[in-house]
């Protein structure tokens, strides 16, 4: 009964709210901004959010996640293992493998010949981090990076591993990290979605990405990632038809809102108000998005920083530039995916191409955020869904070898947003197969990211089907060593 009364009270609030809305279509989105669940009728989740919010200032306000889809090899990028070069072609000792399961692709292989990096490594910066020769731009900003060499995950195939990284569970239907943040922190700029998704594809062997990765799961649909298109018109159907003026559009929306208000009074369905809000946001996006996607106002030096590819819509470089612009405009979570990192064979060739696609623009993004004073409040993450084996898949040749999936150890980097800079964290054994110190599980990583944004990962929960869910499921520890 108590619940019903509460519900009724909320409904009354909504009515008051809407009556104002129908007059001037005033501050509906503002309401959702301040009280994210005002319209969804779930007062409980609101409490949950309040509980999650910290007693200390968040270090990061926004995230840009440069997901390297397909799993780039750690052994050709950040985890330098001279032993693999020395023991080239020798079988991986069982004492190191310790019964690690294999994928169907190498399970039939009789031997597991070790293979070292085709590319040379060198130490860079004050942190003296080892970085391979195909990432020269990344190497030049190494003192801004926090490289974690001891990541490990549970899944061994792309889809579950990706889903695990993005949603905290290997099966689908859970909210993505960006959705959790949109839910937990709300929107910073109410004229843009809080969670945007940008896709690009390199020439290397690729794996697909699916919209379930940026799904809102059981959270409100407003927390879903908005996928931008790879064309010059990143948000489709945003332009008014040729003969329609802004005023006409405004009038039309007002009329529709008034009618929606009537049906809301009758049915009390919160989905109606959500719809009104979405129309309103789309209306404001009509001016906000062109301001952001227009690259012609960027100074010349920016094009040189990201590389001329950033002018070609749909490239990784263009997406990095767009990510900066979105983030700068208050988008909480910008998720990039760059496909093509699945080097089961022809690794040296493909890896070099892939690195060329992403190296300059990734580094440029850091430099760009930094020169605007935004790096301190923006967390940038670069990495794939797992690592690659230290042994060769298929025929071993000096210039042509492959590596299979490896969940036990891999490298990612983070920058800005309250992580330590110029740090290399964690270590693998000399075979680069197992973690020797400071392991970081995917849930630990997620807990740390949430912490940087001022959220306690154990308290940001949502009750669904009788159970409280969280991004880190039932585990995860904040890796304090990474926090500045």
């Amino acid at each position: 009964m108590e619940k019903e009364i509460l519900e009724q009270g909320l409904n009354l609030n909504r009515r008051k709210f809407l009556s104002r809305l129908s007059l001037g279509l005033g501050s509906a989105a503002l309401g959702s901004l301040l009280v994210p669940d005002l319209f969804s009728g779930r007062s409980e989740s609101e409490d949950a959010i309040m509980a999650a919010l910290p007693h200390f200032a968040p270090k990061a306000k926004r995230v840009i996640y440069l997901f390297q889809n397909g799993a780039p090899s750690q052994l050709e990028s950040f985890d330098y293992k001279p032993l693999l070069q020395k023991n080239y072609g020798q079988d991986l000792p069982e004492s190191i493998r310790m019964g690690q399961r294999l994928t169907g692709m190498t399970a039939g292989q009789e031997k597991f010949p070790l293979v070292g990096s085709y590319f040379d490594f060198q130490q860079y910066g004050e942190s003296r981090a080892w970085i391979s020769s195909i990432f020269p731009h990344t190497a030049s900003i190494v003192d801004d990076l926090c490289i974690v060499k001891s990541m490990h995950t549970e899944a061994i195939n792309h889809d579950p591993a990706l889903t695990f990284f993005q949603t905290g569970a290997q099966v689908g239907n859970r909210p993505s990290m960006g959705s959790w943040l949109s839910y937990g922190l709300g929107s910073e700029n109410s004229n843009l979605p809080a969670f945007c998704v940008l896709l690009s594809r390199g020439k290397g062997n690729g794996q697909g990405v699916y919209s379930k990765l940026w799904s809102n799961g059981f959270l409100d649909a407003t927390h879903q990632g908005v996928q931008f298109s790879n064309s010059e018109d990143p948000v489709l159907y945003l332009k008014d038809p040729k003969s329609m003026s802004r005023d006409e559009r405004r009038k039309m929306l007002d009329q529709i809102a008034a009618m929606n208000d009537l049906s809301f009074r009758e049915f009390n369905d919160p989905a109606i108000t959500a719809k009104v809000q979405q129309y309103e946001m789309a209306y404001r996006m009509q001016t906000a998005v062109p301001e952001i996607t227009d690259v012609s106002k960027e100074p010349d030096s920016i094009i040189k920083l990201y590389g001329p590819d950033c002018l070609v819509p749909g490239t990784y470089a263009a997406n990095c530039l767009l990510a900066r612009k979105l983030s700068e405009s208050g988008v909480r979570f910008v998720q990039l995916y760059h496909q093509g990192w699945d080097q089961h064979d022809n690794l040296p060739n493909q890896m070099a191409m892939q690195a060329k696609d992403v190296d300059q623009a990734s580094a440029a993004l850091i430099t760009d955020l930094k020169q605007r004073g935004l790096l301190d409040e923006t967390l940038v993450i670069w990495g794939g869904e797992f690592g690659r084996t230290n042994y060769c898949q298929g025929k071993i040749q000096v210039e042509n070898y492959g590596r299979d999936h490896h969940p036990r150890a891999f490298s990612i980097w983070m920058a800005g947003g309250g992580v330590k800079s110029g740090m290399v964290y964690g270590e693998t054994d000399e075979f680069g197969y197992n973690i020797a110190e400071n392991p970081v599980h995917v849930h630990d990583f997620q807990a740390t990211v949430l912490h940087l944004l001022g959220i306690d990962h154990e308290k940001l929960t949502y009750k669904h089907l009788g159970r409280r869910y969280r991004l880190t499921d039932v585990s995860g520890k904040v890796v304090k060593d990474l926090i500045a």
Partner: protein, 708 residues
Amino acid sequence: MREKSTLRNLLENCLFVWLGLSIVLSLAPESTEFPSIFQVIGRSHPLLLHFPIVLLLAGIIFFIVPSLRENNEVKNIGELIFLAGANFAGITVVAGLILAKEDYEGESLNWHQWAGFLVFAFSIFIYFFRNISSKTIGFSAVILAIGVILTGHWGANLTHGEDFLLAPLNPEESQFPTLAEAEVFRDIVQPILEAKCVTCHREGKIKGELRLDHLEGIQKGGKTGPFALAGDLENSMMVQRISLPMDAKEHMPPKNKAQLSEEELSILKEWVANGAKFDQKMEELEKESKLYQFASLRFQPERRYEFEAASPETVKELNNFYRTVMPLYPESPALAVSYFGIAAFDPASLNDLKKVKTQVVELSLNKMPLENLDLGFLEDFNNLEKLSLNFSGLSSQQITQLGKLSSLQELALSGNNLQQESVKILSQMNNLKKLFLWQTGLSDSQKNELKKNLPTTRIDFGFDGKGIIYELNPPKISQAKTLFKDSLELVLSHPIPVAEIRYTLDGTEPDSLNSHIYSQSIWINQSGKIKAKVFAPDWKSSPTVSSVFMKSGLSPSDSKLLNAPNPRYQAQGANTLFDQIKGKNNHTSGEWLGYSEQAFEAEFEIPENQNVESLGLSLLYHESAYIFPPTQVEIFSWEDGSWKSIIRDQPKQSEKIGEIRSELLQYKIQGNSPQKIKVKLNPISSLPAWHPGAGAKGWVFIDEILLN
């Protein structure tokens, strides 16, 4: 009735047994050792005590409410309940006295013990004198009820701690000290002890002779040894006990109590390892130590803001679609303000912020058009620490106004054109910790001047791209269609504003000197090809891009293919050539005629009274699909009963694999306009050596013949 009174008799007699026992026990010396079976009875005290409380209170109701005493049956039941309660009180007192010999002492214990005893004794009194006068008994019963409750309360204090009951009414100040103020023991270690240990090791319940509720107790240690020995993990009893496995008898906290989390465990150990100091400041710890890192998460590094928070209503009012005003975190009085939406920017709205001028610590006006705006109002923002004004078109005068902001720590001015005057102002802003000056047009000497004058400020001049020469991207050619009737508009574009687009329409390569400079859209009225290229200072010129456009021509009165195309690519036969539909850039689209084994050969009649001055061939090239330019183009005219070759051409052959593209080969027909024309295209018979399919037969694809 008889049976009932037997039971009652028994219970009445028992009362005195308990009374006797309890007197003996309370007189027994501290050190009395009981047989272990008695200990079991003693330890059942916490279970037993619930019975006398409930039964006595229930029985008391029968004594207090007069109407319940009118009916004999009811009265009897009431008395029996009270009697049972008194008996349980006795048993509980006995058990309690036995339990008290184990590790309990202190004031609460005394109060509890004596109150319990008195309750028991008083209940006996009430029971036996229940009939004197209902008023007296009622009054006594109320006293007894109070006694029962008090006894229970003191007992609860023993197990749960002195202030357990009322603690929720007196909430502690929940404000954390800052990292600078925090102390290792007081703020990190002690809270753990209080949460997990003190319930059993404190005044009144000193298990193992160890008290952890005051410093002396901690320093003194317990029965089996010192609590913590500086730096000596092995001999510190606390470390020993908490490190034991769960099922070890000595494991602490006891199995059934709340356990230490892994983090707490490591904190306690680290504290001992670090010297078990009681007065160490957090800041004195090494930054790498676990304790410090734990603390740095829990305590706010910076000072807290001292000023009052603005009212939530004010903050709410200030928020709109284009301005976000948010506390730094929910309980912080400090506000961060951001403006979004260049088109919607209203300078007057800045005045609204005066309502929160004390609270605003961060203000972001990036990209907002602030030209000619008086920034003097910022002076009133006493606590403004971070100000972002990137790309907002500031003048020297406005920068001067910024010079007066005394609490400013971070200033972002990237993208504003700064003058020497501004450099002077900035040079005096010693308070700044960070200054962002990318893209501000400063000379090297000005940069050095700033660096010299602001030695403690981290200045970021950003990336200027000087000396880096990249190739420009090709320009984009937009045209509504390839095949047009009267005229066609060509639009060229390039995303870099400084880039100069140059183009040619005569098939020559554009250069930076003689070719047309593109300024507005080009209107075309005949078939041809545009080639365009971009040039810009400090850039390598772009690759050339080209696009063809075709003016639709006459339809012949008759046409036929002399050789059949490859069955897979026969489109609509000869009709394809004059359907005025430009094929898509895809040879399998069904709009292209494909020839490989044989040459393409078609003839067509020109309608009467029509002149043909030029002939265009629309072809498709795509080297990776083996589609090449024809090796020879031959055009014949029907004159005087026989075919006469009027044009023979060898188009330029491909030299590398290129994009899939459409090409137009144009030929002028000299002399008299022919009545009948034949066109022959020879596909390449052997692909060149550089091609992956070297030696194989190539293809010719054609979709349109244009007669103008």
